[in-house]
């Protein structure tokens, strides 16, 4: 059930947002609505003729804005605004044929009731409401015992529980909110009285406190007594519904019981909160206001604070050291060193055949020198003949290095370029001696 209500509220929220619905009421609009509501109540009207609307608006303007002009025009605008915001509705359906009849919507009535509500809980009103509630519940209980068909359950049990009983409890709740608002006013009034008259206001403040305390105390005793009875009857109805297997009647009973619980809880919390406030204000009146009738203390304290930085002083307070509790002496365990699991870190040897090319090249160079070759090109001519053509370029460098190590090559200032096997050209060296030192 709760989830269905939640879904409905989401739907309403979404539609309000989508349609951009808002309320924008000027003070004169509110006054107009209140005046209409009053007129309807006094003369038992269900709707207003257009002329009546205009007349009421003019009366409102006379009261709140006597110098205002163009009253007819302003009335037209006001009626238009209220219609746009669904506060007034045309109900005659005559259209253009004649001037219309208008009625206030439920929304307008709600707004007016909020402003006019002086429905505050009193002992009398609460007793009356709780007694009416009990009478309705006893009636429902009797009907529940007799009910046999689904229609009888719906008409005589579920319906009254949802409407009659629900409305009565809602009436109590509405008056509770009225009393809350009244309490707030009392608190404000006490503040204002003290601010205006200070010592002279003590008696009035005390009276206000006592009146509210008495009201709350009386209400709470009525609530305590009557809610217990109401809950007992509700429990009986729920039991009968459970035996008859009527889930909707059970659910309706539970809803009413929840409302009654809320009413009772309100009484408890308000009395507790007011008790705290009462004690505080009572003490304030006794200890502060009565002992300082001219408010001299506040004045002197204000002066002291303003001059404190020029002549500072500091209050002394006790500050005993906390008892030091030594930590328990425990033997620290020797933590084992961090190790890695042992494994063979020696890599297996890999057989690599010896590089014999370098030795062979060395031998070939030495042989060429021994054979009396006197230039670099001649040595290369002999040695490169046995070297693979792809390696010749690299080999030329190594041969040159060997020759430098083995002999002392010389070169002319202008070194001639000589072609050697393998499409390579070199700068020529002369090799003195041409003999290797084998």
């Amino acid at each position: 059930m709760a989830s269905t209500e939640h879904d409905e509220s989401l739907h309403v929220i979404a539609s309000i947002h989508r349609d951009g619905i808002c309320l924008d009421l000027k003070p004169v609009d509110l006054c107009f609505l209140v005046a209409l509501h009053t007129r309807a109540t006094q003369r038992s009207l269900t709707c207003f003729e257009e002329e009546v609307l205009l007349d009421v608006f003019e009366q409102v303007c006379d009261a709140v804005d006597p110098d205002g002009e163009n009253l007819r025009k302003r009335a037209t605008h006001a009626i238009g605004r209220l219609r746009e915001q669904r506060l007034l509705s045309r109900v005659d359906g005559a259209g253009i044929i004649r001037a219309g009849d208008y009625s206030m919507s439920r929304l307008a009535s709600g707004i007016v009731e909020f402003f006019m509500a002086d429905q505050v809980l009193t002992r009398e009103s609460l007793s009356l409401l709780t007694k009416a509630l009990l009478a309705s519940l006893f009636q429902v209980k009797t009907e529940a015992r007799k009910a046999e068909t689904p229609d009888e359950w719906r008409l005589h049990v579920v319906g009254p529980l949802r409407v009659t009983v629900g409305d009565l409890v809602a009436g109590i709740e509405r008056r509770q909110r009225g009393l809350d608002s009244q309490q707030e006013q009392v608190q404000k009034q006490i503040g204002e009285l003290l601010d205006a008259d200070w010592f002279a206001a003590v008696e009035q403040c005390q009276q206000l406190l006592d009146e509210t305390t008495t009201t709350l105390s009386e209400l709470n005793s009525v609530l305590l007594h009557d809610t217990h009875q109401i809950l007992t009857v509700l429990s009986d109805i729920e039991q009968i519904a459970a035996q008859a297997g009527k889930a909707d009647a059970e659910e309706a009973t539970q809803r009413v019981a929840e409302q009654v619980d809320r009413v009772a809880a309100w009484g408890r919390t308000r009395q507790l909160a007011w008790s705290t406030y009462y004690q505080y204000v009572h003490r304030f009146l006794r200890d502060v206001v009565r002992l300082d009738p001219s408010r001299a203390l506040s004045e002197r304290l204000r002066n002291q604070l303003a001059d404190w930085t020029k002549q500072p002083y500091f209050w002394v307070v006790a500050q005993a050291s906390k008892i030091r509790v030594l930590r328990e002496n425990t033997v620290r365990e020797q933590r084992p060193p961090v190790v890695r699991p042992p494994r063979d870190r020696e890599m297996p040897l890999e057989y690599v055949p010896a590089d014999m090319e370098a030795t062979a090249l060395e031998d070939a160079v030495r042989s060429a020198l021994a054979a009396g070759k006197t230039t670099l090109s001649e040595v290369l001519e002999v040695v490169l003949a046995d070297v693979d053509s792809a390696k010749r370029f690299a080999v030329v460098g190594r041969i040159a290095a060997l020759l430098v190590a083995e002999s002392s090559p010389r070169s002319e200032r202008e070194r001639p370029w000589v072609r050697v096997p393998g499409e390579i050209e070199i700068e020529e060296w002369a090799l003195p001696g041409g003999q290797m030192h084998a």
Binding site: Q187, F284, S298, L305, A320
Partner: protein, 221 residues
């Protein structure tokens, strides 16, 4: 004159409330009527506790406004004096405690109200100087932030001493102990004379401007 519930110190010490109240008083807390049974306990055991704490070089003070606190007069018990922030904020809160608007709210006020009132009474520049004593030059924004931080710190300190209760949001519930901040201006004597008397009694310490930079004094064990 009410009949005391305790006849011997042993009974007081045996009471289940004693350890908590003893530790609170030694930590500088002010126990007032709002503390309910704790206040009633100290009131009942007052004469026995006075002689008990006198042996530790302390006086158990019962203010006429209805709160108790422990005042070290010897060197046996540790003590400290309130900070400049705590003093300024405490006096502002005492002033607010006496105002009808606070009565209307049932003794509750807002942190922002305290800051605004303090700045208006002391002056923003003086307040910054008082709460940033080491700084000769300051950036206005940083100094204001420091003031706010110091005030928040002072409020926490005052709460631990039982002067206020910090509640939800930035609400503060003012307590009776705050009237200690008005002690120097009570009575008909000149405030300077009253202050001299309080200093002589060891309830307050005066500081020369050169001392302001120092941390609050702490003595004793």
């Amino acid at each position: 004159m009410h009949e005391s519930a305790f006849h011997q110190l042993e009974e007081v010490i045996q009471d289940s409330l004693f350890p908590e109240i003893d530790l609170a008083l030694r930590a500088g807390r002010h126990v007032d009527r709002d503390d309910g049974e704790r206040y009633a306990f100290v009131l009942d055991a007052q004469s026995l506790l006075e002689s008990f704490y006198r042996r530790y070089g302390c006086e158990l003070i019962h203010a006429s406004d209805g709160f108790f606190y422990l005042l070290p007069v010897g060197d046996q018990m540790g003590r400290r004096h309130l900070t400049a922030g705590e003093m300024l904020v405490g006096q502002t809160l005492a002033l607010l405690y006496l105002e009808p608007t606070t009565v209307q709210a049932g003794g509750v006020t807002q942190q922002s109200v305290v800051v605004a009132r303090l700045a208006s009474l002391v002056g923003e520049r003086e307040l910054i100087q008082a709460l940033n004593p080491r700084r000769r030059k300051y950036d206005e924004r940083v100094a204001q932030e420091t003031v706010r931080t110091e005030i928040a710190k002072a409020l926490r300190g005052l709460e631990s001493l039982g002067f206020i209760n910090l509640e939800e949001g930035e609400q503060l519930r003012l307590r009776l102990g705050l009237l200690r901040f008005a002690e120097a201006v009570r009575g008909l004597s000149e405030p300077a004379d009253a202050l001299s008397r309080l200093i002589a009694e060891g309830k307050a310490v005066a500081q020369t401007p050169g001392d302001e930079d120092e941390e609050p004094e702490e003595t004793g064990t």
